[in-house]
């Protein structure tokens, strides 16, 4: 037997190509293409009075200038509201080019196409747009106050109000021995992948077909949207994702204005057109996330057992709401984490502001929810004088209570039912890993030296692998090589490796003989996309089923050829063998040849399959209910999401003089079901933790009152460098299989980032001795908090 690949920590097969610089990202393509640039609003809120393009017309190399007035038919309509919801009563989306009002700095108003990007920007610079500035609504306080409106026909700036409840929370709080109230908030951040958005379109006027490359997390979604906007048949549109330099959520949003405008102009101009977003554009015209304010009321007994939890929160979704309510719905449902909240009520308003739109960023509403729940747990512990782990332990859902139904509706419209998980064991492991029980001594010893150290922990549960479905296709070529395709896309997760591992186990072929293609509608046309930590669960399972079908077919054909029983066959290193009969074997490639009865031979191998060489003349060449080829195609569509979980602990030291915050240790216990590839899972955790550090200590969108983003560059938007990320991330795994898919797996892509803000806040609080209720936190803010609390003490 070959070793089982599932579970092996093998190195990523895609890396050799990528680290040698052989990757091909969007801007590596289309060197012959014209370039698009955009005139974008410098105002957060303004009426567009006039657009004067005269000056631009002199720019040599200019091909076209488009404004809203040029847009035909469906392109002139607002862009789609992708995920409607009954609570989303006031959904507004933008026009591909602003019509008469702009609602955030960066909103596109004019599209310029020129011979190259330099010339396009020269022309764009000469276009004069006249505005009448309107008052800008910036931040949740301003949105709630509603002194000014973002959209005049949306009262109170409220796009949606939504509430879910389980039990009678008012009664529970009334009767609770202890009640605490907390205000907790998280600021805006963003995915900020290394590669921004980008799209290249080639229109072939002869075949009347469009080919589109886009740096997206959903090629099928883009195909459907572009075909609809341009009035093309789906079969006439190919959407291909080249190598994608990171997504982290922002690229699941689609279609971007540029994604429909670029193919439209390519069609009009009869030449390929390309748009590559630059960094400033990415900051001001893609998407952000995270900004929420929460008010919590929690009731509990003397033991710290939750009796009732009432959470009211406000979500800032920016100028438009194309992605619907996904982020706040996730916060409201995932907030409960591994706990039984008692009676629970959660209500939110999703608010318009004159800022960049909000769509999911890795974690997608969970970092906020976990921050709220874990800060609440710590507050309960502080109130009762209990150890923070004890309070958590007392509220955990126990393994024997699985599956556990929270009585809530999750982001996929399905009931929130945890499929499996073992939270008490996770906590035990984490306490051991970080040395929780010995930490008081560490803290005291440091104090004695005038140092401040603190420890914090945070737990989360993450619904992963949401539906509706994904598919997989596996075909064995006559060469014996295996080609695998799935429709969802890859942005660096290592799909080529893990999907090949799954196929290798089924088909008994070496990894090197397996090629995996993702996100290319030419290879697989039915798909949803890569988000919600779903690729391994959804496409992994589908590919597993497809490979199994291909295997069965191969064994059947091989059994015929070897005159054996399919049950007696095994496939090892690409050879089908009769177990225990040396020499009775046939290569998988030959099986593929035989499975496809031919009239014409094209090489020696194919001769074996031609009509005078094979076949029982008593049967049709392709038996009934069979198809030629060793091929499998299957889909996976589970009833509901599968729930991964984990716990992080962090030890920090805060400088008593400068208020700088240093990470001393970062520990992770992670349970994403069975591990396909532990190395890849750990890589995902490392990246997530790095983003968690960013979200906790560095990154924020610094909007001023006028709605200008003051830090729209990597100089001032402080993504952590490697020097800010802990040198070592200590990881322990727990593998609680999911009963919901054939591989027993759960998603792992987002987890690393989720508890970051909560764990850091707890650790800083522990070091400093006063509550931390808002994240991120900078040394300057910590300094100001120290002053506030020392004043508080002295009065």
């Amino acid at each position: 037997m070959t070793t089982k690949m599932f579970g092996e920590p093998i190195a990523r097969v895609e890396d050799d190509r990528l680290v040698r610089g052989h990757g091909a990202y969007l801007d590596d393509l289309g060197h012959d293409a014209l370039a698009a640039a955009f005139v974008r609003s410098p105002h957060a809120h303004a009426e567009v009075l006039d657009i004067d393009v005269t000056g631009a017309l002199e720019v040599e190399g200019l091909l076209a200038i488009y404004t809203y007035e040029d847009l035909p038919d469906r392109l002139a309509e607002p862009l789609p509201l992708l995920i409607p919801h009954p609570s989303l009563t006031h959904g507004r989306t933008q026009y591909a080019l602003a019509r008469d009002v702009v609602n955030h700095v960066g909103e596109p108003i004019v599209m310029v196409v020129a011979r190259d990007r330099y010339l396009a920007e020269d022309a764009a610079e000469r276009i004069i747009v006249s505005y009448r500035p309107l008052p800008a609504v910036v931040g949740i306080d301003a949105a709630r106050a509603a002194e000014h409106l973002v959209h005049p026909d949306v009262p109170g700036n409220v796009a949606a109000n939504m509430m879910q409840r389980v039990g009678d929370v008012d009664a529970a709080l009334r009767n609770a021995p202890h009640v605490l109230e907390l205000d907790l908030s998280i600021e805006r951040s963003a995915s900020t992948p290394m590669e921004g958005r980008g799209v290249l379109a080639r229109w072939d006027p002869e075949s009347h077909r469009l080919r589109l490359w886009t740096s997206t997390q959903t090629s099928t979604g883009v195909r459907a949207a572009v075909a609809a906007k341009l009035g093309l048949a789906l079969v006439d549109v190919d959407v291909i994702t080249p190598d994608v330099g990171g997504g982290f959520g922002v690229k699941i949003m689609h279609p971007w204005p540029e994604e429909v405008l670029v193919p439209w102009s390519a069609q009009l101009l009869g030449q390929p057109v390309k748009f590559v977003e630059d960094r400033r554009e990415h900051f001001i015209s893609s998407a952000h996330e995270r900004a929420q304010q929460h008010h919590v009321r929690v009731g509990f007994d003397d033991e710290g057992q939750l009796l009732g939890l009432d959470v009211r929160f406000w979500h800032d979704h920016g100028a438009y709401i194309p992605y619907g309510l996904i982020v706040p719905i996730i916060t409201s449902t995932q907030l409960v984490g591994p706990y039984k909240p008692g009676a629970y009520r959660v209500e939110f308003d999703s608010l318009y502001t004159n800022t960049v739109i909000v769509t999911p960023y890795r974690g997608a509403g969970r970092p906020q929810g976990v921050f709220v729940m874990e800060r609440t747990m710590d507050a309960i512990a502080a109130e009762l004088g209990l150890d923070r782990t004890v309070v958590r332990e007392r509220n955990f859902i126990r393994p024997d209570e699985m599956p556990y139904d929270h009585g809530l509706v999750f982001q996929d419209g399905r009931p929130l039912i945890y499929d499996s998980g073992d939270y008490p064991t996770s906590l035990e492991k984490l306490k051991k890993l970080v040395g929780w029980d010995d930490f008081a001594a560490v803290r005291d010893a440091a104090r004695a030296e005038g140092r401040r150290v603190g420890i914090g922990l945070a737990c989360y549960v993450e619904g992963t692998g949401v539906g509706p479905y994904e598919g997989g296709h596996v075909v064995v070529e006559p060469s014996g090589k295996v080609k695998v395709a799935t429709g969802l896309t890859s942005q660096g997760q290592g799909h080529q490796t893990v999907f090949a591992q799954i196929v290798a186990d089924e088909l008994g072929v070496p990894m090197a003989d397996i090629e995996v293609v993702t996100g290319d509608t030419r290879r697989f046309g039915y798909a949803v996309g890569t988000f919600a930590s779903r690729a391994a669960v959804m496409s992994g399972s589908a590919i597993h089923l497809a490979a199994r079908a291909a295997r069965e077919k191969a064994l059947k054909v091989a059994a015929d050829a070897l005159e054996a029983d399919p049950d007696d066959l095994e496939i090892v290193d690409g050879i089908v063998r009769v177990v225990g009969v040396p020499g009775a074997e046939i290569s998988l490639g030959t099986v593929a040849v035989l499975s496809n009865p031919l009239r014409y031979a094209f090489d020696d191998a194919a001769k074996a399959a031609t009509q005078f060489a094979v076949g029982d003349t008593g049967k049709p060449p392709v038996p009934e209910d069979e198809e030629p080829g060793i091929e499998g195609r299957d889909y996976f569509s589970p009833m509901q999401s599968t729930f991964a979980s984990g716990m992080h602990a962090v030890v920090v030291e805060t400088d008593p003089d400068t208020a700088e915050i240093k990470i001393l240790r970062y520990c992770v216990v992670h349970d994403c079901g069975l591990l396909i590839n532990p190395r890849i899972v750990e890589g995902q955790i490392h990246g997530g933790v790095a983003q968690g550090v960013g979200g906790a200590l560095y990154e924020r969108m610094a909007y001023d009152e006028a709605g200008q983003l003051q830090n729209a560059s990597f100089m001032d938007f402080l993504m952590p460098y490697v020097s800010e990320v802990p040198e070592r991330i200590e990881i322990d795994h727990l593998e609680t299989p999911s009963p919901l898919n054939p591989l027993g797996i759960k998603g792992a892509g987002e987890a690393g980032v989720i508890p970051g803000a909560a764990a850091f806040a707890a650790a800083i609080e522990d070091a400093e001795g006063f509550p931390i209720t808002a994240m991120p936190i900078s040394p300057s803010e910590l300094f100001e908090l120290r002053r506030l609390h020392s004043k508080g003490l002295s009065t």
Binding site: E121, Y698, Q710, E724, S778, S780
Partner: protein, 286 residues
Amino acid sequence: MKPSPFGYSRPASVDEALSTLAAHGSNAKVLAGGQSLLPILSMRLAAPHHLVDINRLTELDYVRLDASTVRVGALARHARVLADTAARVAQPLLAQALRLVAHATIRNRGTTVGSIVHADPSGEMTAVLALLGGSVRVASKSAHRDVPADEFFLGALESAVAPGELALEASFPVLGPRSGTAFVEVSRRQGDYAVCGVGALVELDGDGALSSARTAYLSVSATPLVLDVSEAGEDFAAAAALAHEQVDPEADIHATADYRRHLAGVLTERALRAAHAGAVERSAHG
């Protein structure tokens, strides 16, 4: 993020560079390491008609040392100055500050003279030049002049280098006997421009008592601020209090003004303590 059109020359000698600069006058900009200039051009915050690239002027790629001065030529990259052992021994403050300038990749390209001409109030080398009382040699087609540090920095991002001029070298006095230096700062991420930074120069008299203490500050004023805190003697906390009183920083998105002021105090004490220790050690060996 593409620059507007510009002309470009890459002179092979200083004379040629000066002629080209003279010909283009205020429409031209010198391109050294490009680490500050190119982002400005790409964001179209400036649109000079002509760039004079000095990267072929190898005659300016030097770090020279004589009895009294370390002289850094306009093409010497930060990395090269940082790695120069003789310069480090002669004036330790150079390396103490340079290791805090940006990241290795930027130090490989960016020039020390360029960063001084750029006159960023957060640039370490501007503070070093001011603290040490160095000077910059500036040339035009018609004349050469030496501009002392206290006349060199005119405002934030504004130096005494006029259109048509090229800065040839920066000179830093070597460290005297019984003296010590230090440079400390707080930046948000490693290599970022500092939220606040302090350089210190301490001199002892023959008896080992502190005779002079000066400090220079980053990111608290438009031009490098140098304070004489000798009066506090070896009471570095008192010196910190003096600094705290005298700096008048502004807030930005990374720090409140009060936090910066607080840091100026804390870092003054730390820098003086380290510089004093250096001076004591040097006296012992000298």
